[in-house]
């Protein structure tokens, strides 16, 4: 523990709209360490998703620096960023984002395809992961044939495919009822505790945030100072 995973320095992001430049992140400084379990909260429009997209290497900063494992992501080319997303990061979305035409097994195996894992090994690991999230019997179903909670568990399994060290979840329970939400959160807690994966969860749900050891409060594109301790 304690090894630095994420470092944002003076990170700013603005969108260019017809109405002019719209600032979304202002000089955000943030350090996450290996094994952290962080909840990001804040009102709607405060820039949480934008921050997560930057952390997930899906979006780039307008100014400032984002260092992942001490490496400046601004200096990396598209392939290197793709490699980071593929191997080091796992992303879980509010809307699940599974490929509807593919079986659950193929969905989970897809990141391994891009990592160049052989078909046999892909399928074996995908089976293991589905077992891990409690869906081993449904490997050949399509995403449209299972419930939202089940879909999100498949998405978590997919995020774990290449054994990432940083798991990013943007409102993973936003579309789920409280009981299912707790199941998903329990999964995150377990991953964090058992495998030391750094987990960052964006949430509006106080109960969900309550599970996390650290909380980052966003207000108007800034990180609000000095969080209160765990509830």
């Amino acid at each position: 523990m304690g090894e630095e995973v994420v470092r944002l320095e003076q990170a700013s992001k603005h969108y260019d709209t017809e109405a002019g430049s719209l600032p979304v992140l202002h000089d955000v400084d943030l350090v996450l360490e290996s094994g952290d379990l962080v909840a990001i909260t804040g009102p709607s429009g405060s820039g949480k998703s934008t921050l997560m997209n930057v952390l997930g290497c899906l979006d780039t900063l307008s100014s400032g620096r984002y260092l992942l494992r001490g490496e400046d992501t601004g200096a990396l080319d598209g392939d290197a960023l793709a490699r980071l997303r593929n191997r080091y990061l796992g992303f879980v979305f509010q809307g699940f984002n599974l490929l509807p035409r593919q079986s659950l097994l193929d969905n989970v195996a897809l990141p391994m395809l891009y990592a160049g894992v052989t078909r046999h090994a892909r399928e074996r690991r995908a089976e293991e992961l589905l077992l891990r999230v409690g869906l081993s019997g449904l490997a050949q179903r399509r995403p449209t044939q299972i419930s939202g909670g089940q879909q999100q568990r498949v998405a978590v399994a997919r995020a774990l495919a290449n054994q990432p060290r940083l798991l990013l979840a943007d409102e993973p329970t936003g579309n789920l009822d409280s009981h299912t939400s707790e199941q998903i959160m329990a999964l995150f807690l377990d991953l964090n505790a058992a495998e030391g994966i750094t987990v960052v969860v964006v949430t509006h749900d106080e109960r969900v945030a309550g599970y996390c050891r650290r909380r980052v409060q966003m207000v108007d594109g800034r990180v609000a100072p000095a969080p209160t301790g765990p509830a």
């Binding site: 997930g56 899906l58 979006d59 035409r101 593919q102 990592a115």
Partner: protein, 406 residues
């Protein structure tokens, strides 16, 4: 990796079967047209080549006539100006290896109760050499029969078949204008001439017999035309000039007056025709290739739609670690798979319609391996070429923008 990508391509194609089929249809028709047109062109070229081969090599034809009598210009062959003597003299020219005077006519021939109207030509034995036309069964007549004005005949395959069926015609008699002719031999098959005439529909008799007994000629010893074989292709032109000069001298034509015969370089005419056919078949192929191009544009069109429809899917793939080239490959492979599948169906369509054309319109069509290979190659290139732009467009999407798309 490639296997998995191929599987993805099939999955994407299967997801919207009707659209996939309609997209491929352009390709199917394009490839079908290419295969069919090349088969028709190849068939036409084959016919011409065969006709040229059957004609004999390095041939010049000298036709009598074309004289002006009292201001009236008569067509070639209408004035009997050439004689067997002229033919003999031509045969002594150094650039000439063979010479064959011919007196053709058309008449009814009979055997038993069968009868048939055909061309009956008076020839000398050298005709068979000049035309490279051996006797297949029996034997040819020689100079002795020509001198003897004998009533003997050689029959072409078609005549033999029509008059005697499967019986052996050799030794049988053929009645031509009420006189019996002894059949000595059956000519080997020649097939179609350049004009599309059946060359095997013919009877050959000694030239003297044709001149004196069968048709009669206005002046003794005249012939309608003389076939001249030059010693080599290089000597064709020289032989042509030498023949003209010789005949003008023999016919005592003054410097200024036109020739009373016409010299035609048959080999040059045939080659020109072969070239024309070749150009025609290239044109057919080129026109068909245009439809392939149209098919390719259809594929590009659908691939572009497909990319914008699947932007979100692309975003998801990018988010879980697909590289630019993975996305590029995926869409390119889909385009290529579609064009190759379209190509396979197109080849089937082309071969099928060529066979139908051959059976229905009695057209000679020849489907060659290279023609199918060409169609395949072009389809593949078209698939890659027109698939590349949409695929590149897909691969250049930024992950976050692709994901935002609904």
């Amino acid at each position: 990796m490639l296997g998995a990508l191929l599987q993805e391509a099939f999955r994407a194609m299967a997801a919207n079967r009707l659209r996939t089929f309609l997209t491929m249809l352009g390709m199917v028709i394009g490839v079908g047209a290419v295969v069919l047109m090349l088969a028709v062109g190849e068939g036409a070229q084959f016919i011409v080549r065969q006709a040229i081969d059957s004609m004999g090599s390095n041939l010049i034809m000298v036709v009598s006539g074309s004289a002006t009598t009292g201001g009236l210009r008569l067509g070639a062959g209408n004035v009997p100006s050439l004689t067997t003597g002229d033919a003999q003299a031509i045969g002594e020219l150094p650039s000439v290896t063979g010479v064959a005077p011919v007196q053709p006519g058309s008449t009814q021939v009979m055997s038993g109760t069968n009868n048939w109207n055909t061309t009956v030509s008076g020839i000398t034995p050298s005709f068979l050499e000049v035309r490279n036309w051996p006797v297949a069964q029996g034997s040819a007549f020689g100079d002795a029969e020509v001198r003897a004005v004998a009533r003997v005949a050689l029959v072409g395959r078609t005549v033999a078949q029509l008059l005697f069926g499967d019986d052996d015609p050799i030794g049988r008699t053929l009645r031509i204008r009420d006189s019996p002719y002894l059949i000595l031999g059956v000519l080997s098959a020649k097939g179609q001439s350049l004009e599309g005439r059946d060359q095997d529909d013919t009877v050959l008799v000694p030239i003297t017999t044709a001149q004196r007994k069968l048709f009669g000629v206005p002046f003794p010893g005249t012939v309608r035309y003389v076939l001249v074989q030059a010693r080599s292709p290089a000597l064709l032109l020289r032989a042509q000039n030498a023949v003209t000069q010789l005949l003008r001298e023999r016919h005592r034509l003054p410097e200024a007056s036109p020739s009373d015969f016409t010299v035609r370089n048959l080999t040059a005419i045939a080659e020109a025709q072969a070239e024309a056919t070749r150009v025609m078949s290239i044109m057919l192929g080129a026109i068909a290739c245009v439809s392939l191009l149209v098919g390719g544009i259809g594929i590009m069109n659908i691939m572009l739609v497909s990319v914008s429809e699947r932007t979100r899917e692309i975003g998801i793939r990018l988010a879980i670690g697909a590289r630019e080239r993975d996305i590029l490959m995926q869409f390119l492979l889909e385009a290529v798979t579609m064009s190759v599948a379209g190509c396979l169906l197109g080849v089937a369509l082309g071969v099928g319609s060529a066979a139908a054309l051959a059976a229905g319109a009695k057209l000679t069509v020849i489907i060659t391996g290279p023609a199918i290979g060409l169609a395949f190659g072009v389809a593949l290139v078209v698939g890659i070429f027109f698939g590349y732009y949409p695929a590149r467009k897909a691969s250049r999407l930024r992950p976050i923008e692709a994901l935002r798309q609904q």
